[in-house]
Amino acid sequence: MNEKISYHELVNIIAAETGASKELIEQLLTETVSLTREGLERDGNVHLSGFGHFKLRWNKPRVGRNPQTGEELEIPGRYLVNFRAEAKLRDFINRKYAHLKPRLIEEEPAQESFIEPDPKVSVIPEIIPKKEKIIVTKEEKKSSRKWGWILVPLILILLFFFFFPLNTGDDLEISKSKVSEETTNESELGKDQDAGISEDQISESIEAESEAAEVTGIPGGTHTVASGDVLWSISEKYYQQGNLWPNIYRVNMSNIADPDSLTLGSKIIIPPLQGEMGNLSKADLKDISEGFGEAYLIYKKFGSEKALNYLWVLIKLKVNEAINTYSDRVDKRDLELVRLMKGAPLIK
């Protein structure tokens, strides 16, 4: 019906149902209300059977801010009256939905794939087709730029530690000279240094190195979490590089609810690597990429902005198989942000 019932209508309805006089019902309602007010004043808590609980709550004084002037204001404390309907009343009005229970959602709805699923394509396809227009509001652009400036130095450090040890041995000088030649050529031509190009060359050289080099491998094992242990420190201990922790997380996902906090005394499986640091095999790179994919998904689930870092690395590692695995689970907005971050120079 959705009508407003006035006090007099309510009195008439109750009087008709109970068989009492209107005066008596009117008096009953008035006195009940005044008793409720008195009870709240005296005890701060009133329970009316069949109706609900009234509770008096003190809201502490706090410092607010005028959004227009930015001036700080002291908001005084005040009393608030809270009402909570009795369970009987709640059940009565919800009897239509009583049979419904919370149901488990097995999987998140799949999002639009961002990469053409063509396994034959050796070069990484465009993350987002150029023709496709994505409407990004001014505020989103502003915030993405802001995040870009914050995240880029972090990612630079991460990638520096990730790639630097890979370029060891005699071939290191060759790959470095290649990179420097390319970068100097570009600067001579007056072009901007594009991080993507340098990154491509580095990853190619890593792959070439990994194919050519003798594979000795890093044995896996089991680690018992001690006080102060984090995935980074465990990764440093076994792989000599902390930033490979997503590879450990990938294997232990079922036991680790939050990668930032480990349970004391729990067992962590350390996955073996076929290659060594600096000579990682293709399979290792695939595993590591998947680790970064999982790290992205868990941080995304927690709503953490760190997720973008791991997505960025996943894409930059350019392992097609790994990218295709996560293509349907990546948020399109995140990709847009990562795409904006792509232009940041990696090698100065």
Binding site: T18, L24, Q27, V33
Partner: protein, 97 residues
């Protein structure tokens, strides 16, 4: 203040027996329940306006189980507190200070 105390005080104010007061009070509560159930808004002077709002089905994350759940729709009883009641406790605040 609990329900029995209210009935005791009410019966003395209305000059009715406690059983009769209890019957009238539960009858009034039943009628209010029925009216609310029909999506009506009930105005009670010096107390507030009772109404029902509808909460749609929504997705929720259980942090312990680390799983997403779809919660069923439900109706909520809301009471918009009357300004006279708010004023009463505004005065209480000043008297406390």
């Amino acid at each position: 203040m609990n329900n029995s105390e209210i009935i005791k005080d009410l019966s003395s104010r209305l000059n009715q027996s406690q059983d009769e007061t209890k019957r009238l009070l539960s009858g009034a509560a039943d009628q209010i329940q029925k009216l609310i159930d029909e999506d009506n808004r009930i105005s009670i002077p010096n107390l507030g306006i009772l109404s029902v709002s509808f909460k749609k089905e929504r997705k929720s994350f259980n942090p312990i189980q680390k799983r997403f759940f779809m919660l069923p729709p439900k109706r909520l009883v809301k009471l918009r507190i009357a300004s006279s009641l708010k004023k009463q406790f505004e005065e209480k605040r000043y008297s406390d200070e």
